[in-house]
Chain length 354, copies 2
DNA sequence: CTGAAAGCGCTTACAG
DNA sequence: CTGAAAGCGCTTACAG
């Protein structure tokens, strides 16, 4: 421990012992008085202890409390990239709900890689948090995936709770979005507007989220009799630039009759719009565009971008709530609705043609 | 402590004692063997201990370690709103640098309000982190501001380190951006392109960051002989919608000769562009637009938005580095350069006029 | 180089 | 209702 440069003594951290002494009671009583849940405390003593604590600026030492009780009132969030607005929105929901539940939230970046995630889980275990929440897509080998599951299982054996937020790839309690339903609703809405020949910009890497989106799109399209022409589905990285390049490809190879480009994320859709414009094609007027997620930015591109709005913050909050529930024998799954938001990039076809 | 439902015994958390027993050494020796910095350990024993730890899946209990050593290898970040890309970028820099330095990063939201921030500082003190990093603008009364400074001072007296990232409002070590210089450079670049009558969209609330930006703009403009017409400066909330409404106002009252609108943030500038478009004015071609910060989105609006790029992630990283330095008698200040990025919203005036 | 012992700040049966 | 004591898992002088 460092010493106080001023006095040469120890730094003036106020401990429970100080509060107890100031209030003229034992440490045990002070501890109980400070615990709102504790029953057997005379109200007079509680008042005196609380007053002493306030006056001295006492803050309980969470670490000491945790070494006594075995766990920290903390939820650890593993997030692939905080700069992604999709993740930021979920994380925001986590922070809010954690605050309401008296937990602090800790974060670590995992950079989308499972191997990184394993490393982070291991590190986080040291903090003995009540729960770990995993969010953001991950990629890695099957071996890595198994190792991650093992590492998480180990943590649950230590009484830790694991919750997955936003996707559905791991066998733990999950708060998730109905992407499939949202994607189907999007297709139905586009069909209603007169679109008939969609092209798809799909995520390069396979994931449950990507599959849900695609299944929703394809099922609804089939049901409604829409056709996918040859070459109308392109794979690309899930970024703005990925969408840009995919759209370039679509423009060059123009699948027959293509009247709308549907991307798996807004970022990809926004990139696709830029690519169209640079190729002299006016997004919306000539070819429709739709994204997914409805994160910030959809309202600021020109024309505004049609998308599917997800209750991302609510997913984050629900993840915390799941983490606070007693572990159950069966896996829990909470699913949130999505909502199609039609904007400028998908005008009514009928009005454009005549 | 809960019990293991399977065995009825305690949950199988592996402790140092288990590792020591497995390796056939004392807890003290095991502890030293596990500490890479510890010198006096025979390499044979170290190897055996490390092997036992690995085999048992041992994770040191950070809380226990912290109650012994007095602090947690953790840096607490107080961020106003994680969904703001500006903050997200700084936070990303913090996470990365913290990881490199063997610290974990903890976050709490403060919702822009000083009173909230005080509450959060108090809560965070419980965790005994090595440092607290404050980022994001804050608003509140002078009384609140003083209370916040007191709360932070209390924390530094407990050997905590306080660092401010991205602004310069509080008397602690600071990692900051040269907004003033960036704003001046922007004006110089616009002058070079032939712009002469700027209008300003300024933040509604006063802050050092806002002042720096404004000083940089006004000083350079004056030096270069540019004029500010009556009514050419409008105050607005620092959001997309704030920029939208400010631009509406400017369009309605059109200050004489206005040829470029300069907003204090990209979000405001992007809102202003939408307002222009909705008023039938083509941003860039008719009236130039420039933002500040160069966060994601500047490349995706039409035309692309001229802005000033800030080394936000580096500011976050620098904040962690400052936090790791020994406290000094004088306040430290690290300042990062900014860079003007000219894009589609500020074409060469000369080419447009003829 | 190694181990026994004390101590970090807290909580919680246990006994009044 | 209250207090003395044990104990959480770790680290670190101290003494070999």
């Amino acid at each position: 421990m460092r010493t106080d440069p001023a006095t040469g003594g120890p730094p003036p951290t106020v401990t429970l012992r100080d509060v107890a002494a100031a209030a003229g009671v034992s440490k045990a009583s002070a501890s109980r008085a400070l615990d709102p849940a504790s029953q057997y405390v005379s109200s007079g003593m509680r008042a005196r202890v609380l007053e002493s604590a306030r006056r001295l600026g006492y803050r309980p030492n969470t670490s000491a409390r945790a070494t006594t009780t075995g766990a920290t009132a903390m939820v650890a969030v593993l997030v692939s990239d905080i700069r992604d607005p999709y993740n930021a929105e979920i994380v925001h929901g986590v922070i809010e709900q954690a605050g309401r539940s008296g937990l602090v939230a800790t974060f670590a970046g995992t950079d989308h890689a499972i191997d990184d995630e394993i490393r982070v889980v291991r590190m986080m275990r040291s903090l003995r948090p009540h729960a770990m929440i995993l969010t953001g897509a991950r990629s890695g080998s099957t071996v890595s995936r198994t190792a991650l599951e093992e590492e998480l299982a180990r943590y649950t054996q230590e009484d830790g709770r694991v919750v997955i937020a936003g996707d559905d790839e791991l066998p733990f309690d999950t708060a998730i979005l109905s992407r499939r339903r949202g994607a189907s609703d999007l297709i139905a809405a586009l069909f209603e507007l007169g679109y008939e020949r969609p092209a798809l910009i799909r995520p390069e890497h396979d994931s449950v989220a990507a599959r849900e989106w695609e299944d929703g799109i394809v099922d609804a399209a089939r049901r409604l009799g829409m056709r996918f022409e040859y070459g109308s589905a392109v794979r690309a990285p899930m970024t703005r630039d990925g969408g840009y390049r995919a759209a370039e490809h679509l423009i060059e190879h123009r699948p027959r009759g293509m009247d709308v480009v549907i991307a798996a994320t807004d970022a990809m859709a926004i990139g696709a719009m830029s690519a169209m414009r640079n190729a002299g094609i006016s997004p919306g007027t000539e070819i429709g565009v739709a994204g997914f997620d409805d994160v910030q930015g959809t309202e600021d591109v020109t024309p505004t971008l049609t998308s599917v709005s997800l209750a991302l913050a609510r997913v984050g909050a629900a993840a915390v709530e799941l983490a606070l529930m007693e572990p159950a024998a069966v896996r829990r799954r909470v699913e949130f609705e999505s909502r199609v938001v039609l904007r400028g990039t998908t005008p009514d076809r009928a009005r454009i043609i005549r």
